[in-house]
Assembly symmetry: C2
DNA sequence: CGCTCGTTGGACTGTTTAGTCCATGTAGGG
DNA sequence: CCCTACATGGACTAAACAGTCCAACGAGCG
């Protein structure tokens, strides 16, 4: 019911999730109907129900799709650990928000309020999504600490959580105010906070 | 169409917005129907449509209601400006999330993803809501700067935005992970970041 | 060449939903 | 005490919606 067995089926399933993801991004979960999705994807209803048990399953498919989306924006060097990699990662986010005009928000973060309360499975999926997203940052900070680039008593897990919060909060304020600089300010503060844990030079 | 002319009418309208607010908090906007609202409020449909033009207008009523909700949790001393007032404010939020079991998130923040993309008026209302919410903090920081408690070059507006982002991001992660400590960590970081702008003692 | 299994098309159904309408109730001013 | 304007109850409608069903298609394999 969920796994296509042929290449053609895989393409159809992918077209459905991509269409659903775009519609959810542009209008929100509440304003996205299955009829909208099949029209945009150019498929029939039976195709949708061949790969997704019901609407909730499709929305969980969107969570998975959007998770891959944000993960693909994480460079490999972030996990290796360097100030430069963190700065580059932050800048790529503000750049993206600028081109999007501060609309649409975070592909994963926006789904939390829309799905976490209604669907327990979706809530777990979103929690896992954040785990995967922050893993490279956490690994990078741990590596920096091991290399003596961070203070000995630096709490890597807490720094990671605080950074993720600044990202999500910055994106939320950007979406609410239609102003990408909200994210830029939040990320500058997050960067400064991380820098506070940098090991003293001399 | 929106303003009750009698005390009885005002009470009815208040009961409707309160019921809608609770339902939206517990299940999200998408899973809250007008029939649910009238049942919970104990009113009839014509009463709802006497005070709200349509569903979107009701949801804007929820934005206004929830805005007052978060504003009522802001003590007067925050605007006067003190480290103590900021710490107390932060602690009241984490305490609330602990009793709520990390469910439901921020009354205002959760509405952003659910309403901002679909309804332009709601987006503006939410932006204003954040303006009002952060005003006491911004005034307090400005007062502290004037009293020499903050560094001379401290950017009060940026500090305010960064703090709001940490709050919203912390609440979002708390909601996603059902873990109130996510907010606590984010707020500790926000407090440390603010403290960095404290004027040197000697 | 035909069989089979995954895939596709779209009509169909029952339910939920937002929104309308009108008859009735009620409180307070003249 | 009655009149008026606001408030209330609930039946009603039309549309949108999620989900079902079955007939037809097509690609690969024997």
């Amino acid at each position: 019911m969920s796994a296509p067995r042929t290449i053609r089926g895989q393409e159809t399933r992918a077209r459905i999730t991509a269409a659903a993801s775009e519609l959810v991004r542009d209008r929100g979960v509440a304003r996205t109907s299955l009829d909208d999705v099949i029209e945009r994807a150019g498929v029939s209803k039976s195709q949708l129900y061949l790969y997704f048990a019901d609407r909730d399953a499709l929305l969980r498919g969107v969570i998975a799709y959007n998770t891959e989306l944000v993960l693909s924006a994480v460079g490999d060097d972030l996990a290796r650990g360097s100030w430069q990699a963190i700065r580059t990662w932050f800048d790529s986010m503000t750049k993206f928000q600028h081109t999007a005009g501060g609309r649409s928000g975070c592909p994963v973060g926006t789904l939390v309020a829309q799905l976490a309360e209604g669907d327990a499975a979706a809530q777990r999926a979103l929690a896992e999504s954040f785990d995967r997203w922050q893993a490279p940052l956490e690994a990078g900070l741990a590596a920096m600490k091991a290399r003596g680039k961070l203070k000995r008593h630096a709490d890597v897990a807490a720094l990671t959580t605080a950074t993720m919060a600044s990202i999500q909060g910055g994106l939320l304020l950007t979406q609410a105010r239609r102003d990408p600089s909200q994210l830029a300010i939040a990320l500058d503060a997050a960067y400064a906070h991380l820098r506070q844990s940098a090991a003293g030079r001399r």
